[in-house]
């Protein structure tokens, strides 16, 4: 299908049943405020809309249709129960500023979620406001800065991040007015402690660490790292994107961290929606509690001993870093996470991390046995692991990108490519706990088949994909350079019509 909805637009086509009867000219709005012509939107029938977007949807790979081992993204099954129950009319139709009396249901859920996340983090304070992981990081670093500032310590503006860290970590630090200092990783995938010791000092605001790290290994020296940073007066931020691997087994708070964000769209299985919405609630240690972003939910007992839930705002939390969202963040997403956790419980959370780890280690073992090169062979995989295709690249002239594109033709979404950038030609592979052994076996077979092809017919990889399993076979490999060279970002014919 090559049509956009704009091609299908015809002047005068309309869905009358959605168009209210309204006065032709708005009384009371002076002409100078008005738009002279209606906005340039497609003029299409409801059937055209439904058909267009239904067919578009079929062009996507998704967890519901394909194995999606995208490292660091935890593309596991998104329970439909969470989707359906969070979409109950009572939840969907409530205005954010409606009376608290009319929101005791949703506020109770959010409060329970605060409590559960605090327990999983091993920390006393939680704010649910951040709307994705990166905003959680922002909240965390802003709180760290506010903490130092509250102690009159204005010099601490340097944020340490391991070189393998996710791009959001340094970007966040910069948004919070910090300079970024990278700490190298050693050959085993752990943080280089000597380098860390040299880096810390009176300008250290803190360290941002992902654990399990983005290298797919557990940072074994995490307690030492915490000690070093704390001893130097810095605070510790835990990027919780990889919590799926350890939830219910170790807690950021117990490891000495001061702040952590959760990616509920990873660990707690809320759907990623092709790019969001997610949610990135933060938990913090005692000393950061006063700075948590607003609003939070408070529980009190009323005069009849009944629980009463209400919002806490600036008046009750004067030291807060403030607001991050117009209202209370992505409430609908948080409800999904709440339902997931209520279905999972403590034992379930431990099973999640256990089986996510089992699947990753099994896949690593099988690929390794099949002759692929794992990046950290001496280490256990966590919920993910890294393969380097450097040997294949050298031998056959094919890249990790080529492997990835060819995998699509097998009906398998490609792993994360070229991240972390320390490992050449790398694939970061995260199978998640909800996939079967059979699916993992099929992945191994596909990888072996592709390598065989790389040997015998590398051209096939270099030009992949030709046809992915979507209706019509999809497009071939797309030219990214062309896209960036002369950006074509809107359908200009529509606008100028």
């Amino acid at each position: 299908m090559t049509q956009t909805l704009f091609d299908a637009s015809r002047a005068g086509r309309r869905n009358a049943h959605h168009i209210p009867e309204a006065p032709a000219t708005p009384e009371g709005i002076p002409e100078r405020f008005l738009r002279p012509t209606p906005p340039p939107l497609p003029q299409v029938s409801e059937l055209q809309v439904v058909r267009h977007y239904t067919r578009l949807s079929q062009l996507n790979f998704s967890v519901d249709t394909q194995f999606y081992p995208l490292g660091s993204c935890t593309m596991k099954y998104n329970p439909r129960a969470c989707q359906v129950l969070a979409s109950l009319p009572g939840f969907l139709n409530r205005h954010p500023l409606a009376s608290e009396e009319s929101g005791q249901g949703v506020l109770r859920c959010l409060h329970e979620l605060q409590e559960m996340l605090g327990e999983i983090a091993g920390m006393p304070g939680v704010s649910l406001v951040p709307m994705a992981g990166a905003q959680g990081e922002f909240a965390g670093v802003a709180m760290i800065r506010a903490y130092h500032r509250s102690r009159g310590d204005e010099a601490r503006r340097e944020m340490l991040v391991p070189d393998a860290s996710h791009g959001t970590n340094p970007a966040t630090a910069a948004m919070c007015g910090c300079t970024v200092r990278e700490i190298p990783t050693d050959a085993q995938g752990d943080v280089n402690l000597d380098a860390l010791r040299q880096a810390v000092g009176p300008r250290t605001a803190g360290l941002m660490l992902t654990n399990p790290s983005t290298l797919g290994v557990f940072e074994r020296q995490v307690a030492r790292i915490a000690q070093i940073v704390h001893a130097a007066g810095g605070l510790l931020y835990y990027d919780g994107a990889n919590l799926n691997a350890v939830a219910g087994r170790v807690r950021p708070g117990d490891m000495g961290f001061d702040a952590v964000h959760f990616n509920v769209h990873k660990t707690f299985a809320t759907p990623h929606g092709g790019g969001g919405p997610g949610a990135g609630p933060v938990a913090v240690s005692e000393r950061l509690v006063p700075f948590l972003p607003l609003p939070m939910v408070k529980k009190e007992l009323d005069d009849k001993g009944r629980e009463w839930f209400s919002w806490m705002d600036e008046t009750q939390c004067p030291e807060s870093i403030g607001r991050l969202a117009t209202f209370a963040g992505n409430v609908g997403v948080l409800l999904r996470a709440h339902i997931y956790l209520r279905m999972t419980g403590a034992e379930g959370m431990k099973r999640v991390s256990g089986f996510a780890t089992l699947n990753a280690n099994y896949l690593m073992a099988r690929l390794s046995a099949a002759g692929f090169t794992v990046a950290f062979p001496g280490r256990r995989a966590t919920h993910e692991f890294i393969l380097t295709l450097k040997p294949e690249a050298d031998a056959f002239g094919v890249s990790a990108l080529d492997f990835s594109k060819r995998l699509l033709e097998f009906g398998i979404h490609a792993p994360t490519m070229y991240f972390p950038s320390l490992v050449p030609e790398c694939l970061l592979i995260e199978p998640t706990e909800t996939e079967t052994k059979e699916t993992l076996d099929r992945f191994v077979e596909a990888m072996i088949a592709i390598r065989h092809e790389a040997e015998t017919n590398p051209q096939r990889l270099l030009t992949a994909p030709h046809a992915v399993p979507v209706p019509g076979g999809g497009v071939g490999r797309l030219d990214a350079t062309r896209a960036a060279r002369k950006p074509d970002l809107i359908w200009k014919e529509m606008i100028t019509q």
Partner: protein, 454 residues
């Protein structure tokens, strides 16, 4: 339980392949002292039990007839919107990193960018930000970076939504940015162009212009834009996208148009949902393109010349540029743009325009009805779109609480943010309100105002 498919046989075989005796051995690298005891979480519930619990909770959350706006608006959402947007292939995909396996999302985003650029009369749009307030934060940061007067003041009218201002405050707190508040005229409820005079000749990086403003009042966008452009400032428009069915788009404000347009996409098919998820949108003029934060989708080709779509201009983004990126944003509000695209396509130009016109008409009728009640008057005189502030004869908060118990969410008490206006209430009536709803509100308010305290 949690959706894990492993059979006992699977587990045995897998452990054997790995070469470990049991699952716990896989965690041997975690130092023992760090291991935590069993978490203290509520007991796991089956789907049936959790369903019953959530249904009971949702049932207590009744809205009544809602006349609150203040940044989130109840609109009719055609049934087709979420029936299609919630399809698994949209819902359970990730950010479209593998373009060839994500043409659904990518093509849709390209269309979304087009529609938003068309609505705002801008040259380009991104693929969404978190929400309206944080979107304004990003827009201000972007304007500060891009402005000819970089390093200068950011002028922020006090008529901007107070939460938006709070978020901008949080997001700029650790930057070397001076955000200066411009007071609004207490009579008209909006910025008087002459209020800007005192900034003339100072280095102004950017001027934020809300349209309509927090009080629902229409700002003199042409004059304000022209003033700012003359000062060399970047103009950031914060707009309600639904109002653009009727109102002049930012790209056409004044002589040159605004440079950046942002706002909250909630009115375009997104449920109220106690505040989120909504989405922020951001559009800009061509010149600012490479300063834009967030994902951007571009059109390209494959080797056979077939059209395809792909994430582009990624050199702006955190995963490439790290500390030098235009923003830290990664996950945005993708699925909401799916809904908004479907919503806008179903409405079309006429539908959007008429919806906006009807919202305006309804609010006018409501204001007419309410202001016939003795002691109820308009607080500001400026022209408004679909929301405006009224003054009650008594403090607003207790009256609103009373109304809520009678099935009416009667508006937003201005006293919360503007203590001097403790009798002020912001009311809004969208196309969802019938004549009978408006009358119900008026009758009930009259009764409540008359009733003895209690």
């Amino acid at each position: 339980m949690p959706f894990i498919p492993h059979t006992p046989t699977d587990i045995d075989e897998m452990l054997r392949s790995i070469g470990v005796p049991d699952l716990e051995t896989l965690f041997e690298e975690i130092p023992d002292p760090l291991r935590c005891p069993t978490l203290d979480l509520p007991p796991a519930l089956g789907e049936m039990a959790v369903g019953r619990m959530m249904r009971e909770r949702a049932e207590t959350d009744a809205n009544g007839v809602c006349f609150i706006g203040a940044g989130a608006y109840e609109h009719h959402i055609p049934a087709a919107v979420w029936e299609i947007a919630a399809r698994g292939e949209f819902l359970t995909a990730y950010t479209p990193y593998q373009a060839e396996a994500s043409q659904g999302t990518l093509r849709l985003l390209y269309e979304f960018q087009t529609m938003m650029a068309g609505l705002t009369a801008m040259d380009a749009g991104n693929a969404s930000l978190y929400d309206g307030a944080s979107g304004l934060g990003e827009a201000v940061l972007m304007a500060a970076r891009a402005s000819d007067n970089a390093g200068g003041k950011i002028l922020m009218p006090a008529s901007v939504h107070p939460h938006y201002r709070a978020v901008v405050q949080t997001m700029t707190a650790d930057q070397d940015l001076e955000v200066v508040e411009i007071p609004f005229d207490p009579l008209e409820g909006r910025i008087l162009p002459k209020a800007l005079n005192r900034f003339h000749g100072q280095k102004i990086a950017a001027l934020v212009i809300p349209q309509p403003n927090f009080f629902g009042i229409l700002e003199e966008v042409d004059t304000l834009t022209d003033w700012a452009k003359a000062e060399g400032a970047t103009v950031v428009a914060a707009v309600n996208p639904l109002s653009l069915g009727l109102l002049k788009p930012p790209g056409h404000w004044g002589q040159q148009g605004a440079d950046i347009a942002c706002g909250d996409g909630q009115p375009l098919g997104i449920p109220l949902s106690s505040g989120g998820p909504y989405f922020g949108f951001l559009c800009c003029k061509q010149a600012l393109l490479r300063q834009m934060p967030g994902r951007i989708v571009g059109r390209t080709q494959d080797a056979q010349g077939r059209t395809g779509f792909i994430l582009t201009l990624q050199a702006r983004e955190q995963h490439i540029r790290r500390a030098k990126a235009t923003s830290n944003i990664c996950t945005n509000q993708g699925l909401m743009t799916v809904a908004a695209s479907i919503h806008l396509s179903l409405l079309g130009p006429e539908g959007l325009a008429k919806t906006a016109a009807l919202c305006h008409a309804r609010t006018r009728t409501l204001v007419d009805k309410l202001t016939t009640i003795p002691g109820v008057t308009r607080l500001f005189t400026g022209p408004y779109f679909h929301e405006t502030a009224l003054r009650l004869p008594k403090p607003a908060a207790p009256i609103l609480a009373r109304l809520a118990r009678l099935g009416i969410q009667g508006g937003y008490a201005l006293g919360e943010e503007h203590p001097f206006h403790d009798k002020g209430v912001l009311v809004c009536a969208t196309e969802t309100k019938t004549e009978a709803d408006l009358q119900f509100y008026a009758d009930t308010l009259a009764w409540v105002l008359n009733a003895k305290e209690g």
